[in-house]
């Protein structure tokens, strides 16, 4: 499978922030088996992130407010990317920042060492920068243009679901030159503990991920697929091979798996192994055959039921 900048053995990759820089998962399986790896966000300088607690549990999901903790773009290039480069797997850098200048700096530096960028304009967990770029189409367009200009590799823009009109955002970044989209990031949420009477997460709000958000993610992928001509990496609540097929049918060309890696560190590998058989059982001949299928299917429900 070919996507801009990426030659994928399969459409499965771990989502940014849920896989570190790969090292912690390497003892569990060979990272070369993955379609690609999306690294944890990189910013211009080292960041220490938010206070703890940083995670909270919710029904079929979790909240997180890590706050873009990372060692900074230079340290990532020097200490993290070489490890991933030992594997036969495309590497995608997740690019974050508080200002357009920071995004541009990170993109310029890191794009020489990776196969594609995922432009993170949707992190809800930092006070300044990040998410407003993802909720205002004009700002989204502006930062995308700037990053596309300096990047040596294709740029996928990661969209926030916390918006009234996701299609408008998607079109804005497509116009700005994005080679692809990555969606969705987390929904902003909060948990309050009746015992302490306070938000569980130190940052008060956090990003909701996991199976709970899958219907919102599938809906957004479906809507955006009809409106843009660039490929979509779909994510949000994927836990099983059926979930992967649901995203592909909605219009994703590949998928990323985030929080499910915490439930089961082997989840990506297991789904990759199950995928061929699952495709056959639903009557598909290839992954390409599935992509966007829900937009084409006209048979009546009864026909395919047994």
């Amino acid at each position: 499978m070919m996507l801009p900048g990426l030659e994928l053995k399969n459409p499965i990759m771990p989502a940014s922030g849920c896989f570190g820089f790969g090292k912690e998962f390497a003892p569990f399986y060979d990272l070369s088996e993955l379609g690609a790896v999306i690294m944890k966000a990189a910013t211009g300088e080292q960041r220490f992130g938010n206070g703890t607690p940083r995670v909270a549990e919710s029904a079929s999901g979790m909240l997180n407010a890590i706050g873009l903790q990372n060692p900074g773009v230079d340290a990532i290039i020097e200490h993290e990317i070489p490890f991933l480069r030992e594997y036969d797997v495309p590497v995608i850098a997740n690019v974050a920042g508080s200002t357009v200048e920071e995004y541009v700096e990170v993109a310029r530096k890191i794009s020489r060492f990776v196969d594609a960028l995922e432009l993170n304009i949707s992190c809800p967990n930092v006070k300044e920068g990040g998410v407003q770029f993802g909720t205002d189409p004009a700002l989204a367009k502006h930062v995308t243009e700037a990053v596309v200009q300096v990047s040596q590799v294709p740029v996928y823009v990661k969209l926030s679901p916390n918006v009234t009109d996701i299609v408008q955002l998607a079109k804005a970044v497509e116009e700005a030159g994005a080679s692809g989209l990555s969606m969705i990031n987390t929904l902003t949420g909060m948990r309050i503990d009746p015992k302490t009477r306070k938000p569980i997460i130190a940052n008060q709000v956090g990003g909701l991920s996991g199976a709970a958000i899958k219907p919102v993610a599938v809906r957004m992928v479906y809507q955006v697929y009809e409106a843009v001509d660039i490929p979509i990496i779909g994510m949000g609540g994927i836990e099983t091979v059926d979930d992967v097929i649901e995203f592909l049918l909605a219009g994703a060309s590949a998928v990323a798996i985030g929080s499910a890696n915490f439930k089961n560190p082997l989840v990506c590998k297991e789904i990759i192994e199950e995928l061929p058989q699952a495709l056959r059982s639903y009557g598909f001949t290839s992954v390409e055959d599935v992509i966007g299928g829900a937009h084409r299917e006209t048979a009546t429900t009864g026909v395919l039921r047994t």
Binding site: E24, M62, S259
Partner: protein, 250 residues
């Protein structure tokens, strides 16, 4: 570290809201140090795993003992599991007490409440190494106390309860006197801070707690500030045990 369905071979209450759970499986063979933990998927109803310390391990027999307290829905559901049931465990996780590096003439172990469990395997292995051990075990009350007899097998025990219903009435920090050269503490952060202030200057190791996501070092949910350039440590893999000088207790 691996993911495995371990079998429950013993499960019993040992104090108020406190249970002893013995698991069988190959994760037990892999345990390296006292103070490591396992990350438990209680059931499909829970999105996150629960970290629980390994209180005792028999590597040859492939058995490990956990001691846990009911603190919420996950531990409550865990307490409903029966002998013979299997349970989804990730482990052994984390770095424990670095026994090989420790050269002590008299070790002081300080456990508060449900911080006591990891010290049990530590007491046992220090004792086997020939290091004299004094254990200070703090509980809210007599009903909550557990394993005080068991610790006596490996050295002196000083029991403290908040309400005085067992042993000394007060806090663990009231009974730390003695000629110790190394201390090992596990309990609530407030206790760890009090202990490390009181024993400032002594070589010390702290076992810490934080809400976790992955439990394997990838998500950065479980960080604690550190005193060096890196600036932080991950409790789930750099810890949960740290040199008291390494981390900043906020």
């Amino acid at each position: 570290m691996k993911r495995e369905w371990m079998t429950i071979i013993e499960h019993e209450p040992i104090a108020r809201n406190t249970f002893r759970l013995v698991l069988q499986g190959t994760i037990a063979n892999d345990v390296r140090e006292p103070g490591q933990f396992v990350h438990i998927q209680v059931s499909n109803d829970f999105y996150l795993r629960r970290p629980v310390s390994i209180a005792e391990v028999d590597r040859e027999e492939g058995k490990m003992t956990l001691l846990y307290k009911l603190m919420g829905k996950g531990t409550e559901e865990l307490s409903n599991k029966h002998v013979g049931d299997t349970i989804d465990v990730l482990g052994p996780a984390g770095s424990g007490f670095p026994l090989d590096e420790i050269d002590s003439n008299h070790a002081l172990l300080i456990g508060g409440g449900i911080g006591v469990p990891p010290l049990y395997q530590l007491a046992k292995q220090l004792h086997e190494k020939g290091v004299p051990v004094t254990s200070v075990l703090g509980f809210q009350s007599k009903e909550e106390a557990f394993f005080t007899k068991e610790f006596e097998e490996y050295g002196d025990v000083r029991v403290v309860t908040n309400d005085g219903t067992l042993g000394h009435r007060g806090l663990v920090t009231d009974v730390l006197e003695g000629s110790f050269d190394t201390y090992f503490a596990c309990g609530p952060t407030a206790m760890l801070r009090a202990v490390s202030e009181k024993l400032d200057g002594m070589q010390g190791y702290l076992s810490m707690e934080e809400r976790m996501g992955c439990g394997i070092g990838a998500c950065l949910a479980c960080v604690v500030p550190a005193n060096d350039e890196k600036g932080y440590r991950r409790i789930c893999c750099d810890g949960p045990v740290f040199d008291a000088k390494e981390v900043v207790l906020s």
